[in-house]
Symmetry: D2
């Protein structure tokens, strides 16, 4: 897996303002794969004091989006299923996305979120639809 995080694909995804605002960072992007990272702080917590389901989802979704668009074709999420296994309230979480099926108009990705102990925090399964436009047409 090549590290494309400093090239134009990485530059493109730095335009994601929602990810940036929530402290979600690109680790690396490769063909059909991507990793993102989030340091869980007070502002990611819900009312019961654990990382908000939406924060975990957003981290995984960002890795999913980068992996799904890594070929340069605009690809948008149509459905996601996420399962939560471990509550966390601090520490660095890493989301790793990989393509499960990608040949046609519909593509599918699995994203694992793991904590610093390498425990599985959440499992995310995303389906996406490839549009005809290319990312470079949007810039």
């Amino acid at each position: 897996m090549d590290d494309y995080s400093r090239d134009e694909l990485g530059e493109f995804f730095k335009r994601d303002l929602f990810a940036a605002k929530n402290g979600i960072e690109i680790v690396k992007i490769g063909p059909g794969r991507a990793e993102a990272r989030m340091n869980v702080t007070g502002e990611h917590l819900n009312a019961v004091g654990t990382a908000h389901g939406g924060a975990l989802f957003s981290l995984a979704d960002f890795a999913f989006a980068m992996a799904a668009n890594s070929g340069g074709q605009v690809t948008v999420a149509i459905n996601v299923s996420i399962s939560y296994f471990k509550a966390v309230s601090s520490g660095i979480l890493t989301a790793s996305a990989r393509e499960v099926s990608g040949g046609g108009r519909i593509a599918s990705y699995t994203v694992e979120i793991r904590d610093e102990a390498d425990d599985l925090v959440a499992l995310f399964q995303g389906m996406a639809y490839r549009k005809r436009e290319m990312l470079k047409d949007l810039i």
Copy 2:
């Protein structure tokens, strides 16, 4: 459906720092039901300029959490499936959660996200697990 948004349940959910940071507000909370709202601004957008899947998910998840915890028992998400139907880049979105099944340890909620034209933007189906603690024990 009673409007409990100013009472202690509403107060409890105002402790959700992730929701607050992302402009997600309580509309109302009732037994097995809740509504939340988000005004989509630049900071909710992804790299292609539409509302981030994570922002939409977080809005729905907040309504889900309020509905699931509306009985006062601590109830945590275990699995969610979300489908996206319409891309949005501005305007007020409202998420309405209602209980589909809730008698036992496992409860299930449907959340609809609609825009100002009342179009369905996303449909969220959440399963949750009721713990033995009560929310008041956490305060």
Copy 3:
């Protein structure tokens, strides 16, 4: 909702050999809607003596397929999420499918399975992809 079950759409779906073998019957088909029925007998049970998750899924999936194809365009399932609420071991189950979003290439349907007491047994959320062919081209 019109009852098209005796017309050509109903005839088309009677070709579903898997449904027929498992005692799954058409109740009615209308635009974006359909109902199917199954009388739970010994042959639908799993090893613990309750209706097999696959039998419940197959019932809902048949209603989903009829609703999704009710416009005459070949539409195939790409993703389904199903939640189970009540174990059953006998009686008639009815699956009612309705379109949630249907305008484009991707369409979405909700299917409820209810028992004779009208209790919700399972909730099924299906996404489908519309192909260019028409059902009549397949006959």
Copy 4:
């Protein structure tokens, strides 16, 4: 992974009448893992002539049930998400289930269905709830 298919766990799952009726067979069962197999014939087909979504689901669900119950504790499905990647109309399909998270009351399993060319036909993600009873109490 041990092959327990001839021992009492295998005997227990041979009681699954729905699986038997639909030609779904046990390949092997081990701790947190199981494999099942189905030879796709005419009776597994839907109205458009491909393997019915319900037949594919049932195959995966049977492997899921065996893996989830492999520890001897009664474990029931609460939610499943399935994605379909390749239409098939004949040949032997194999479903391989493995535990993703299993320590507590809620456990999660991934099941892959592959055809004879080892292509991924469907991906199944199942959540289950562990009851207090043991399988041997049911016999």
